[in-house]
Amino acid sequence: MRRRALFLPAALLAALASVAPVAPTVPACAAAGSNHAALVVEHGDGSVVTRCVAFAADAISGEELLNVSGVAWSSQTFGGFGDAVCALDTEPAHYVDCPGKDRYWAVFVARGGGAWQLASVGISTLMLHGGDAAGFRYVPASGVPDAPVSPVGVCAAAPAQTPRQSVAASAATANAATASTATAPPIALRTPVAANPTSAAAAATAALALSPVTDSIVAATAPPGPRVPAPSPSGDPDPGLLLAAGVGGGLAGLAVLRFLSGRRSRR
């Protein structure tokens, strides 16, 4: 909470101070950080919003990625799971249930340029490193959600597009951020959402009204998070899960053997 309280004014300050056109040949956010993470948002109608976020730290959380991207969003906390996205970039404009009963925002992650994988943790717990991508797709509540469009090229193509905005999210590095722009679209920063769904929806609506829908590069310095291997719900087997399966199988086998030998000795 304290981190968020520090983060928002810093991001606002940096956003106001550092909006400028970006040189087409050099990644716009290079000065703010050497790592880049892509953000892909695919709406229910198929329209796609992409962002490339640069950060100096080793890793950035999904929450920070969204905050810095300028795409308005709101969330609800689900205990240790973290935050679930309730509304993103004006979709849905209003909501009561989170996640929605008919449609919801499915969260995906692509590691190091790999394929999309469904994230099994909330965006506040999801950690992204350089080359990773976070994807959001507004999908029906029933059935397995389809992945959003590929993040390939989001961070490579973005510098060639204009106009752009660059947001540096650290007060310490605000002056060091190099980007600025002549045409500054309105920037939507995330409004903290209360636990009350009604006020949450109202806050979400207020924030979403400011949202721009343009491709852009944004930059941030994010605090490093704990490096824990990311879960892989599909695709390559998680080594931790394999180890746990082996250990669990061994323990179960031992328990059965001990139970049987105990019964035999009682006879």
């Binding site: 824990v228 879960p231 998680d238 899960l241 250990v247 323990l251 001990r258």
Partner: protein, 286 residues
């Protein structure tokens, strides 16, 4: 003068068992990841099977934990209708349970049940391996009287059940038949009166044995050996690892909504769970 005897709780001292149980419960409940909970349950089951004294059975405990886990899963499936994969759809008009019953809510209910199983198996050695007075003796001096009070209260719960059965059987022999709510007065009133009498009798007996006059003494002081220390250190390390990573914000939890996915597992935490298995390796002396 006190004698030092071999520990009564298998090869481990009662205090080592208490610390082990607390650490195992912490590991089981610090995250809602079913993988870690399942590992703790399996470790605790192995420890119990190795350490169970002759003449004691796991049957009642097994039935209790299975019923508790099944109930947790069932309640979650019926009450939570979130999830992408619907197994069955109940008519929406049914209060509370109406709507889709989903695979995700079944999985989450299963994880909740697994947490119950792991926690119950983790504290089971305190009841099945140790004697009640061992547990009281294992408490720190400042908690000794609280421990006695809690143990006595828990004892009264089972005593209340026993009295209820006796009074009900006695009333039936006198021609009583269960009818409406009022008819149960004839069973409940004598049961409550008997429970109060039992409590007064227990208090007088404890006072006659000088309860509260000073520190509880015992003939034999249970020794705390190097083996106990190793078990305690391993158990506390496992608990500290889980709590530390939780505080550091590492993704330990599992949340199957809205679409079922495999839980995240960290190899280090799997090794941490194995640290709790040391009492099973130590074994029980013949």
């Amino acid at each position: 003068m006190q004698e030092s005897l071999a520990p009564r709780g298998g090869t481990l001292a009662p205090r080592a068992w208490v610390v082990w149980s607390l650490a195992a419960v912490t590991v089981a409940l610090v995250s809602d990841n079913p993988v870690y909970r399942g590992l703790v349950a399996l470790v605790a089951l192995n420890v119990l099977l190795v350490s169970l004294p002759p003449g004691r059975r796991l049957g009642t405990l097994g039935v209790t934990v299975l019923v508790a886990a099944a109930l947790a899963a069932l309640i979650n499936v019926l009450a939570s209708h979130t999830g992408a994969n619907a197994l069955v759809r109940l008519p929406a008009g049914l209060p509370l349970v109406g709507g889709p019953l989903t695979l995700e809510s079944l999985a989450f209910g299963g994880a909740l049940g697994l947490g119950l199983v792991a926690a119950l198996l983790a504290v089971a050695p305190l009841a099945l391996v140790l004697e009640p007075h061992d547990v009281v003796d294992a408490m720190p001096a400042s908690l000794e009287r609280t421990g006695v009070a809690v143990a006595t209260s828990l004892n009264l719960v089972s005593g209340f059940g026993r009295t209820f059965t006796e009074v009900r059987d006695a009333q039936r022999m006198r021609g009583w038949k269960p009818g409406g709510l009022r008819s149960w007065n004839e069973v409940l009133v004598p049961t409550v009166l008997t429970a109060i009498e039992d409590s007064v009798r227990l208090a007088e007996a404890m006072e006659a044995r000088a309860f509260g006059a000073g520190r509880r003494t015992s003939y034999a002081a249970p020794s705390f050996r190097r083996l106990d220390a190793v078990v305690v250190v391993a158990a506390l390390s496992a608990a500290a690892l889980f709590v530390g990573l939780r505080l550091a914000g590492a993704p330990m939890d599992w949340y199957p909504y809205p679409t079922l996915s495999l839980p995240p597992v960290h190899p280090l935490l799997v090794v941490g769970c194995l640290g709790l298995a040391l009492p099973a390796v130590v074994g029980r002396p013949e």
